[in-house]
Symmetry: C2
Subunit: 332 residues, 2 copies
């Protein structure tokens, strides 16, 4: 596991949206990794990578590149791309994805596992921060403090799904939604009191909307705050702003949140473990997780650990560029 | 890796001080583990375990119990006990310790590894929270955000080493020392600004002292605050209190702290990862870590992963009582 800068791990990037661009930026910070190609369904000539020297290929070229890529980082969407791409590509390549439809993870795992077992490849699914780093902290918190409760708070952050939902409301020209943890709930959890919290008590939703020509603010507001599943169970605030303010203040994708495990190890003895992310860019951090775990995928493939894997199967040392001896000396 | 309550993992506890008592309490919260014996250098008849039915043996009896214990949890001290006990016992048993003399970890690892490789056992060293959970967060933070800085803050918490140091000062009848992170430093780190902080800027030290008969407060205070290595580089406050207040307010062992990794994934994009512990009882939490990782040691031994190991070598799923499929479904 020495740093192999002389012989970097060859990374292929499949898809080049926000996540793919984040992967390109993250790989540049890791001298033991190198992007050998970006693979796209678009016309490669039309795609301009941040690093002009990065080769861009058609997705169909991948077959011909078998043996020339150590790990593929799949940067497509969880709804339509990954359920098809990850199993298909895991049959021939070591892969990693950030599949994040929590309810469908067992199904996705099974499909990817069948392909990866067949191809003797290593395929890590659902890496990122939730699922991913938050998941690790949920299971470790529970294992360390079996008598207790686990709380996940998200935000302050831009929710892609909820932003999409408000953009579908008639009269909305542009819109974003921020999820914000309720401070009183966070404080109660941190105190070790293990409160029972309703959906409404944990998070607020704040929307920023640019109205379409002629739309009525109150009608739009009412449609949003009463929207089933998305908003009706929350305290939702809708702020109407100008297109200029929208462009100026709401063009980045911050996110983050907390996983808190609160438990007791004996009567009256509270122990609280908290993991917190404060991210200026959600896709760039997700990409950073994918890149570090791509290193682990390469090592696991070399160790013969084939099949579908998740972050739960990856020892912390495997994601580091440093050797085990160096890690023990510097960081233990 | 199913929950084996019908056939629990057999745990031997070596040493029965604060940590050993914490292990006994923690095992009671984990139905898949069972303490089969406490091993002591004292007279077993004089030792009263919290659970009266727990068998107590002489440390010398361990040899005869070979094959009857799955994992030994070693609860001795890092100065005198573990450097001898861990290699000696690793030659025959799967073991775990909380060796916490950071500078001597490579040496301890080498001695334990030789014994465990020879005995084909699994021996995990330096489990706890620092070294342990904090170490994991230091290496993962750096792997996820290679361009950045890592900060460890301790406290508010009782420091055993510094409390021992003030108790050696002439004129001190009783004394404890709390390490307290400086809030301004924590805030600066959380902001993502990656400040450079001196020792004095990161932590304060607060001492509570009961004076011995006839001792002069100012002399004691001066001796403490100028003590090289322990106090001279810090802003140290010494509070003189009565024996009654000392007994009432300073008999527990709270601790905790933060590991913060602050990094950039692109120009101007700050990402902050924070892991925080807030512990009513330092030894009970350390014991909880040892117990969860004892489960991993048992599994690693079954997988044939012999030799010395650290928390860096342990996948998160291995410390959980739940099956991989259950973890993926519930927590990913």
């Amino acid at each position: 596991m020495e740093n192999t800068q002389a012989n970097p791990i060859r990374i292929g990037v499949v898809g080049y949206g926000n996540l793919g661009r984040g992967v390109e930026a993250a790989v540049a910070l890791n001298p033991d990794l190198q992007i050998t190609g970006i693979y796209t369904r678009r016309d490669p000539a039309q795609l301009k990578p941040a690093h002009a020297q990065t080769p861009v290929y058609r997705l169909d070229d991948l077959d011909a590149h078998h043996g020339q890529v150590d790990v593929l980082i799949l940067c497509g969407g969880s709804k339509d791309d990954l359920p098809v791409q990850t199993p298909a590509l895991a049959a021939k390549f070591n892969v990693i994805d950030s599949f994040d439809t929590h309810a469908r993870i067992p199904e996705h795992f099974a499909a990817v596992d069948a392909a990866a077992q067949g191809g003797k490849t290593t395929a890590l699914i659902s890496a990122g921060w939730d699922p991913g780093m938050f998941s690790i902290n949920r299971i470790m918190g529970e294992a360390l403090l079996p008598q207790g409760a686990t709380y996940t708070f998200w935000g302050k952050g831009l929710s892609q799904g909820h932003s999409d939902a408000i953009r579908r409301v008639p009269g909305v020209a542009q819109g974003v939604q921020y999820t914000i943890p309720v401070q009183a709930a966070v404080d109660a959890v941190r105190s070790g009191s293990c409160p029972t919290l309703s959906t409404r008590e944990k998070h607020e939703r704040h929307c920023y909307v640019v109205l379409a020509e002629g739309a009525e603010a109150e009608v739009v507001r009412h449609t949003i705050v009463t929207m089933p599943h998305y908003f009706d169970e929350y305290d939702t605030t809708v702020n109407f702003i100008s297109a200029e303010e929208f462009a100026r203040e709401h063009s980045t994708m911050p996110h983050g949140g907390f996983v808190i495990r609160s438990g007791r190890t004996s009567a009256g003895t509270n122990q609280v473990v908290e993991y917190r992310l404060q991210l200026d860019s959600n896709p760039e951090f997700t990409a950073s997780v994918l890149v570090a775990y791509a290193r682990a995928v390469h090592r696991m493939a070399q160790m013969g650990l084939h099949g579908a894997k998740t972050v739960f199967d990856v020892a912390p040392g495997w994601i580091s560029a440093k050797s085990p001896a160096q890690l023990r000396q510097e960081a233990l």
